[in-house]
Subunit: 384 residues, 2 copies
């Protein structure tokens, strides 16, 4: 029985994780939950799962939740708040597996704390790895703590890496849907609206990641994440566009064999894999191979997708450049969604911030957060 | 350093194995060679590789080879002949890995002897597994001797099976090119000529296996082989048609993940994999994933390919029926190639022989060979 700390319990990955716990009550239980501002859902989760500890974003929300729980006669659920609340959830003595699914660098400190506390982590938060991957993986190696990727691509890579040695890996191939603008004439890119960019062809996801898929910056972040998770240089990571999102990624070995992982596009599958590893419990998440007809692949065009080029450049430099890539993109995407800049303003902003970023390798989480903050300010200054 | 016994050294797999030895002299050397009737090539191989022992089909050929070697001043190469010669090669004290690549049941006794002698086997001969798989795998399990498949499908399955436990396997999916008649109108099947059937779309192979690909009986034999090699019932083996022969096979796990292996269509890759397992030496057998555009899949039509249906039926019954399937097919294919029966006479002959085959499970190689002989006689009687 694994007792889970779920960071980001009211988000999409958090909810999917709870549905896995529901499906496998003999394997998993809830130890702690860290939610954000959705007090209604947090209340329902607390009632349903009776965690030892639940954390909300602010002291005020925590107070309200505490009152509602007492009113409902729910006892034994401690309520915390803020970043210390999330850390308390991720390092709780009763938690023996941490699902890190808070979007952005907000989940970073708690994820780092979990690793320092020796708790295995299922990582759904790619910004953690992009911003602080060098620190997190070093800590995990030192303490022999597994970090299991919970996103479809890196989860696929993790599976494909089991059939060979690390030294036998030639390339990690991340597949990308190519987003909604894979075939749009280049002269129409300037006029792309947020509504168009929010229509992802295969996955239903949050707003920022959907825009990041349209620019392919998301795949760029995944390239950096792959480098950190699997300890390979960017030159060993390649991207191929695969519009059906059926092959979730591939690993090419030096002998010439390529292993690929295929499954439904449902995040419960990588979540279950991470929770159960190295076992594979039977699930109802079946891919109908008998109905498979075509798989298409094409090469990404770095003119069409300048964000992917910028990401590879930032991956080579690492450290502050990886942090700046993510931070500048988050600011630029928000500006695009707010109608303040055009679609092509996203790569321009990132490129500007990267050009102003010093070569540095933050060695602590505090330095990472400072570097992140600096890049955001730089991006806002560029946009102003 | 592995010292190889290569059974079938002058055949296609034998030659490819020797090219691997040539490429990796620090890993592999030749201990013994078993050839057939091609004395010129056997002579060249003996001169080049200086095996301790080389065997030819007959005493007369062995005598000629011995004389030619002495004339050429080649010493230290013993010459043997016949089935005892092949067994002497496969069990030679200096051989520590046996490549079993003699076509048909001719290689069976020597392969069995190698396993009994505790020597790991790279198995390229599918008839061995079809006719005597129950005996061979039982002997291999008892002595803890690995049998590594050297054909692209089972080799792919072997790789894909490394990412999960045996109990977690839901289906083994063998891919099939579908052969040259995948899309031929059914009313033209009666008029198919040997020349048409010998044109395989993706692989260049021997004559019988090429006809077996056109009827898909070959895939049926592979279904039985998969059941034996991987210890699963026929209900856990499925076939999907994949005309490009790029995905060599797949394994579907109970959690919903499907692993697939992709590589060039070159037998040196599975040979190298079997020789080096569990390592993966760097090779030049690269698949250009960046140039990959489409992979197509479709379901096999059992009306179009009755041989596949017959094979699944024989797989369910096992024992003598698997032997009869292979034996009857070999006789029928020869009759087709000789122009004595039409293309559709192949499944008719097999069906007739299977109907006359008793349910039996030969427990010794001698019983297997007797059962094989009986099925061939039955097939010849049906054809007369």
């Amino acid at each position: 029985m694994k007792h889970l700390a779920i960071l980001g319990s009211t988000g999409s990955i958090g909810q999917s994780t709870l549905s896995i716990v529901e499906q496998f009550p003999e394997r998993y239980s809830v130890a702690t939950l860290a939610a954000g501002r959705n007090i209604d859902q947090a209340f329902q989760q607390a009632v349903r799962w009776r965690p030892r500890l639940i954390s909300l974003a602010t002291e005020e929300l925590a107070g309200q939740l505490d009152a509602r729980l007492r009113q409902a006669g729910v006892t034994g659920v401690e309520v915390a708040h803020g970043s210390q609340g999330v850390v308390a959830c991720s390092t709780h003595k009763d938690a023996d597996f941490v699902v890190s699914a808070i979007v952005g660098v907000a989940g970073l400190e708690a994820t780092h704390a979990a690793i320092l506390a020796g708790k295995p982590v299922g990582l759904a938060n790619k910004e953690c790895m992009v911003a602080a991957g060098e620190i997190l993986t070093a800590a995990a190696r030192e303490r022999n703590v597994p970090i299991l990727p919970i996103d479809s691509e890196h989860n696929a890579v993790h599976q494909c890496l089991r059939v060979g040695a690390h030294s036998e890996v030639k390339f990690i191939w991340l597949t990308a849907s190519g987003g909604p603008f894979r075939q749009l004439p280049l002269d129409q890119f300037a006029a792309i609206t947020p509504a168009q960019a929010l229509k992802h062809p295969t996955w239903v996801m949050g707003r920022r990641i959907t825009i990041d898929s349209a620019t392919m910056l998301n795949k760029g972040l995944e390239v950096i994440e792959a480098c950190r998770l699997f300890n390979v240089p960017p030159s060993q990571v390649r991207v191929t566009i695969h519009p059906q999102s059926t092959v979730h990624s591939l690993v090419e070995y030096v002998d010439g064999s390529i292993l690929a992982q295929i499954s439904v596009t449902d995040m419960r599958l990588p979540i279950l894999y991470a929770l159960a590893y190295p076992e594979r419990p039977a699930s109802s998440l079946n891919f109908d191979l008998a109905a498979l007809r075509h798989l298409d692949f094409e090469q990404p065009d770095l003119v069409r997708f300048p964000c992917l080029r910028l990401a590879f450049e930032a991956a080579e430099k690492g450290g502050a450049h990886a942090i700046a890539l993510n931070a500048a993109d988050e600011v630029a995407v928000q500006a695009f969604l707010d109608g303040r800049i055009p679609f092509l303003g996203i790569p321009r902003t990132i490129e500007g911030v990267l050009a102003a970023t010093p070569e540095a390798h933050p060695a602590t989480i505090a330095e990472v957060l400072a570097s992140d903050k600096q890049a955001r300010e730089q991006a806002r200054a560029l946009l102003a």
